[in-house]
């Protein structure tokens, strides 16, 4: 058990050590231990190296010193003269001692008498000459000399080695000391004079070997420090290198938390550069992520059943544009291409800054550029743009939504939706005009009714003719008002699809005669001659009498309204095998053929100024045609501007009502009959 535990600890230790070398995350205690061991080791090695070098150098210095002292003794012995009593000899001796001291660092070099009181007869220190060395160092010396301590002038203790060499009896015979010096490792007892040298224990300056040992220790310490720094930086570099490798391969999505790699700016100025590099890498990472998302979207579009999603987007009637963070037109559906006149491939090459366009495209670019904020994001916008041929008054209206994407709040991505609301705007405008016209049309007969009613009730006008006239006007205007209300009601029923046909046999002669009678007053006001021309035999048609009366009233009313005074209006009827055709012909202002379709549309009136000058709501012809169509028939108009108009109402004949005269006649007829 203990063995397994030990093996496990070794494995852990080895794993931590390898992790430490490769700058991976290791336990803090392990890192500190390794650093401590390294520093202690480096210090020990350096200390050992220095001590070893000193020891070796001291031994060598000791040998050299001893040899130098022996050489000096030989030189002294070779001086010719009478000895210490000879001044010439002493001068030569003194010179030899100084030359020795000049080459060998010495505290003292001297010649001492070999008997008490051991007087110094020559020394490099002039003050020593004539003094005695004292009994404490006068004893026999061991080989290698005697290690002594001396007190310096500043009171500190210094250790030196005293070397002593016996000198042969002085004076020596001239020439006796020539040749190689004889080793004097052992002092000779009883010598007459001695040479003493007090030298340092070791060289005063470090040797080259000690220098090398110190340099090695310094290099190792620096290497250790560099390794620690490398470990710190390696942690930061690892994230960047990981991103770099993934950027190259792009094998998977990049989600490295780069913010953790930032270094405190308080360290020094160099960290600002590093943090800038991290920020740049962050932006690069975000860009790559979005690129991957775009590619993923494209991939989805391609994979989804051969572009089924793309087809779905292209089927949307609204223009759809996706702008990427590089302000590039990344995607346009078919409607956007059509509205802007761009091709999807060309648009993808454009950026918001270099794109050029005309018409709606130019206005859209201005809108998007205006919504781009300095910090690189878009603000939401909803605007209405107009584009088209201004001179031709062919303007289309577009509502544009610019929607910044929430997921890219910090980056400029947005979706632009363009909707052509021209039809809606026109419909709204027509509806507003209709309300204004209806208001006007209601107020006009009401004005007459109110004015003539007050005329009657005021008592100021008692002439019977005036009273009769008042009643007639009130009656006529009331009928006009009633017709208008009927028309509006019919439109309302047609709008909601609730109109019902109460089909019965309708005598056309009666229907048309009643219609002429209703507008007789209007015709008489303008002195318009209204004629009714019918075939001798006219069978009833199956229809809703009241609804058909609305049709007759509207067509007759229009004929009289748009025919100048003293004009003619002719109402006729022709019967064919399967259809009855009612005709309403006038010699009025006519209708431009370009507006033959428009005049049957709801709330629409002819653009002729003479038409605009007349009151009207734009629902009369629409109501008439819809009622006729619900009978299975249709209305046509033959007209030219200034040459009068002929409206032809085709109704299926009683005997052959199944024979449709319009595409949906049979269905509508059956529906109406059933109702």
């Amino acid at each position: 058990m203990e063995r397994e535990s030990g093996a496990h600890s070794v494995q852990n230790w080895w794993k931590s050590f390898r992790g430490f070398l490769s700058a991976e995350e290791v336990p803090r205690w392990f890192g500190l231990s390794v650093v401590l061991i390294y520093l202690v080791g480096m210090g020990s090695i350096a200390q050992f190296g220095i001590a070893q070098a000193r020891r070796e150098m001291a031994i060598r210095f000791q040998g050299d010193s001893q040899f130098a002292v022996t050489l000096l003794a030989d030189r002294l012995e070779a001086i010719e003269g009478e000895g210490p009593t000879d001044q010439k000899w002493l001068s030569a001796c003194q010179r030899a001692l100084r030359e020795f001291a000049a080459n060998v660092p010495s505290q003292s070099v001297r010649v001492v008498e070999g008997r008490p009181p051991w007087r110094i007869i020559a020394s490099i220190n002039p003050t020593e000459t004539g003094t005695t060395i004292g009994a404490r160092i006068a004893g026999a010396l061991q080989p290698g000399g005697l290690e002594i301590a001396t007190i310096s002038s500043n009171g500190s203790e210094q250790r030196h080695r005293l070397l002593r060499a016996p000198l042969s009896p002085i004076p020596r015979r001239a020439g006796a000391g020539g040749g190689h010096p004889t080793p004097r490792a052992t002092p000779e007892p009883g010598a007459e004079h001695y040479l003493e040298a007090i030298l340092p224990l070791e060289p005063a300056e470090p040797t080259s070997l000690a220098n090398q040992a110190r340099l090695l220790a310094i290099v190792l310490a620096v290497l250790g420090a560099l390794f620690v720094v490398y470990r710190c930086l390696r942690e930061q570099l690892r994230g960047v290198s990981k991103i770099a490798s993934r950027l190259e391969t792009r094998r998977d999505r990049i989600e490295v938390d780069l913010a953790s790699l930032r270094i405190s700016d308080s360290l020094d100025g160099a960290t600002a550069g590093w943090n800038e590099l991290v920020a740049l890498t962050e932006r690069l990472q975000a860009s790559v992520q979005r690129t991957e998302a775009n590619e993923e979207l494209s991939s989805v579009l391609q994979r989804s059943g051969g572009g089924a999603l793309s087809e779905a987007l292209n089927a949307i009637p609204d223009g759809l544009i996706y702008i990427s963070d590089e302000v590039r037109f990344e995607y346009l559906n078919s409607a956007a291409c059509r509205l802007l006149g761009w091709s999807a491939s060309d648009a993808k090459k454009m950026t918001l800054t270099d794109a050029q366009a005309n018409g709606l495209g130019l206005k859209l670019l201005e809108l998007i550029r205006g919504a781009a904020l300095p910090e690189g994001v878009f603000e939401a916008r909803t605007e209405v743009l107009e584009a088209g041929d201004v001179q031709a008054q062919d303007l289309s209206t577009y509502r544009v939504w610019l929607i910044p994407l929430q997921r890219a709040r910090h980056h400029g991505e947005c979706v632009v939706v363009i909707r052509d609301v021209s039809q809606q705007i026109r419909a709204d405008h027509a509806r507003e005009e209709f309300i204004a016209q209806v208001t006007h049309e209601l107020r006009t007969p009401l004005t007459n009714i109110r004015a003539y009613t007050e005329t009657l009730s005021s008592g100021m006008f008692e002439d019977p003719k005036v009273i009769t006239e008042c009643y007639n006007v009130i009656t006529k205007e009331t009928r006009r008002l009633s017709r208008l209300v009927e028309d509006i009601l019919s439109v309302s029923q047609l709008e909601v699809g609730s109109i019902e046909l109460h089909v019965d046999g309708v005598d056309l002669k009666t229907l048309l005669s009643d219609g002429i009678r209703d507008v007789r007053g209007l015709a008489d006001d303008k002195n318009i001659d209204v004629q009714l021309v019918l075939p001798a035999k006219l069978e009833p048609v199956r229809a809703d009498r009241d609804k058909l009366a609305v049709v007759v009233n509207n067509l007759l009313g229009n004929a009289i309204k748009y025919t100048p005074p003293n004009g003619n209006v002719t109402v006729g009827c022709q019967v064919a095998a399967d259809v009855v055709v009612l005709t309403f012909k006038d010699n009025g202002i006519g209708i431009d053929p370009a507006e033959h379709v428009k005049v049957f549309e709801k709330f629409q009136r002819g653009s002729n100024p003479e038409v605009q000058g007349e009151s009207g709501t734009g629902i009369g012809l629409y109501t008439a045609r819809e009622i006729v169509r619900r009978h299975g028939g249709d209305i046509e108009v033959l007209s030219e501007k200034g040459n009068g108009s002929t409206f032809m109402v085709r109704l299926p004949h009683r005997e052959s009502r199944a024979a449709a005269v319009s595409p949906h006649a049979r269905e509508r007829w059956d529906a109406g009959t059933a109702a």
């Binding site: 009401l446 004005t447 007459n448 003539y452 000058g613």
Partner: protein
């Protein structure tokens, strides 16, 4: 007593106004549209114009502009209209010195309005003077 030109393509309006104004001592001349009114003004000098707004050929605005261009601001103009944008129309026509009067109206109130424009002139009704 004043001479008043009534301009309207609705003959019934022209008729009822003629009766009421005549009864209150005013002389009335009539026209069916703006163009006819200008022709009348070529022939006759009037003290006031009462005109409908919507008329064929030349509407009330066109008539007012033409009158102001030719005669200046001397002739008061009262514009009758059944339109629903009467406030905007009133602001538009104020620069021509034209006063907008809404339809439907009561003839008695309109006569008071007209008489006040002339400082009470012709208020005395003349029984039996209906044209």
């Amino acid at each position: 007593m004043a001479k008043i030109l009534i301009v309207d393509d609705d003959a019934h309006i022209v008729r009822v106004l003629s009766m009421w104004l005549g009864r209150h001592g005013h002389e009335v001349v009539t026209a069916g549209n703006g163009g006819a009114a200008l022709a009348t003004l070529e022939r006759e000098k009037v003290d006031m114009i009462i005109s409908d707004m919507n008329m064929p050929f030349l509407d009330g605005v066109g008539l007012a502009k033409a009158v102001r261009a030719k005669s200046g601001p001397t002739i008061p103009i009262l514009m009758l209209t059944a339109r629903c944008d009467q406030q905007r129309l009133g602001e538009q026509l104020a620069m021509y010195g034209v006063r907008v009067y809404p339809k439907p109206f009561l003839p008695s109130q309109l006569v008071v309005e007209i008489n006040s424009a002339f400082g009470g002139l012709g208020v005395a009704a003349k029984e039996g003077s209906v044209p």
